[in-house]
Every structure is written in C-alpha cells, then in structure tokens.
Amino acid sequence: MKTFLFILIVIASGASAGLILGVANLVFVEPSLDQATGIENQHLFATGEEKDTPEFQIKYEGYRTWQKSGQMLAGGILGISIGSLFGIAFALSRNALPGKTDIKKALVLAGIMWLTIYFIPFLKYPANPPTVGDPETVILRGILYLSFITISGFGAVGFYKLSQKLKTKKFIAIVGYVAFIVIAFITMPENPDQITAPVDLVNHFRMMSAFTVSLYWLSLGLILGSLWTHYKPHKEITSFS
C-alpha cells in the first residue's frame, strides 16, 4: 500500500465531507440554534442579568456570527477526525466488505459505522439545542455518550470477528449484536438533564441534526470510495529492478 497516498486520500475525503457537514449545519441547524439562544437571552433579560439594549444586541450578533464561522472550521476538523477512523476501518476491512466496487464497499462500511457509532448512540443520547444541558453535568454526559459509542463500536467489531469464525449461520452474530446493544441501551443511565426548552424546538433540532450528520456519513463513503477508485492506494508501487 502507498502509505502517503492512503493518508492523503483519507484526509481529503474527511475534510470534504466535513465541509459539506458545516454548510448543511449552517443551512439546516443554525435556525434552531438561533431560536434556542434567543430563549436564553429572554431568560437573561427576565432575571435582570442582561438588559435588552441595542448594545447587547450588537454584541450578541457579533458573537453569534463568530460562532457560526466556527461551524465551518469545526466541520473541517471533525470531518478529518471521523474520516481518519473511517479510513483505518476501510483499509483493514476492504477485502472482507461486500460489493464489487470500492464505492459500494465504502458506502456499506459508512452505513455500518453510521448505525453503530452514530445513530444507535443518538437514539440513547439524542442531540440537544442550547438551554437544555446543565453545565454542571457536562462531563458526566460526555463520559456517558462516549462510553456508549465505544461499547457499540467495539461490540460491532467483536460480533464481526465472531461472524468470521461462524462461517455458516452468520446471522447469529447480528442477533448477538442486537441483543448486546439492547442490554447496553437499557442498563446505561439516562441523560440526567430535564428538558425545559419547547418540545417542538427540541424535536425539530434533533431531526435536522440527525439529517446533517447522516449526510456527512453518506458523503464520506462516496468521496472516499471515489478517491480510492481513482488513485488505488492499495496497489504496491511497481518497481523496476
């Protein structure tokens, strides 16, 4: 395998999918975030912590604009980060993945990873807009979320290894993973925070959030698969000796 080319392809596909995620968030998620921070401001005015003055609005708008620019930067960083994990998994599992082309293989893997390390954890600990989370519990919530992702991810790898040993009756491994994840789902503690924000806002935010992250995984699979097809980093460098 061409090491440098492989890393380059992985980073390029992660960055591209991450920028798509950033743009999609600006379009689909930011309106909910603006709504939620607007509610926060109303709380600040009501308790007298801030006054609803033009100066406050200018400061607030400037701050939010800066945060929105961070959406693109964070999209690039997160895209490359998750893309790196995807690249490792793809390189290691490419020969075993179903599908005749690298694009199909990459899409299958993206689907599996989307389900096991994004969507199932999302069902247990769904995304929340600002105002919902209690800053006091942020470390606990971080540990819970990351633990569940890790449990689900390693569970999937473990049952995949088992399925390789089973040869026939591979479906037993899938049933095993489902049982495993149901137990984890039930036994893991709930998110400790009460939702005080309007239900419609929270639900809309969650749908948009799930949509853009799913779009990221789809883009990641397509882009990595396409670049892989084009540059073939798995081929050895042909030497003329």
Binding site: I7, G22, L33, A74, I80, S81, G87, V213
Partner: protein
Amino acid sequence: MSQSRQINVSKNGVPVIAIVVLAIIFAVGLFVVGFDQGHIFSLVYGEEAFQDMYIHELTHDMRHAAGFPCH
C-alpha cells in the same frame, strides 16, 4: 527489504505507521470539537484557558449540531 516490510505492515497489508498517524488525528480532532473545555489552551495559557474556553466557544455550534453534550 522484504523482511523489514513484513514488520511494518499489518496482516491486511496496511502500513502500521498510517494507522498510528490516522488514530492520533482521530483522537485529537474528536477531543477538540467534541470535548475540550479549555484543556488544550491551558497547556499554554494556564488556568485562564478554563475560563475563556476559546475552543469550546468556537466549535460550540458544531458541538450541538453533531450531538455532543454541551449546555
């Protein structure tokens, strides 16, 4: 040549160095976007960084949008 190649390549033919590099990028990137509360800048700016939480504020909207725990 062929001997050193065997040592540096996993059984799937993937170079170990590539896996290590990508694993580090994965861990650092995930921490920066999803979990930093001033830790990284505190290496340079000390305790003050935990008050400012510059990285947290800058990656804040993505933190919410991508489902990481926040405020």
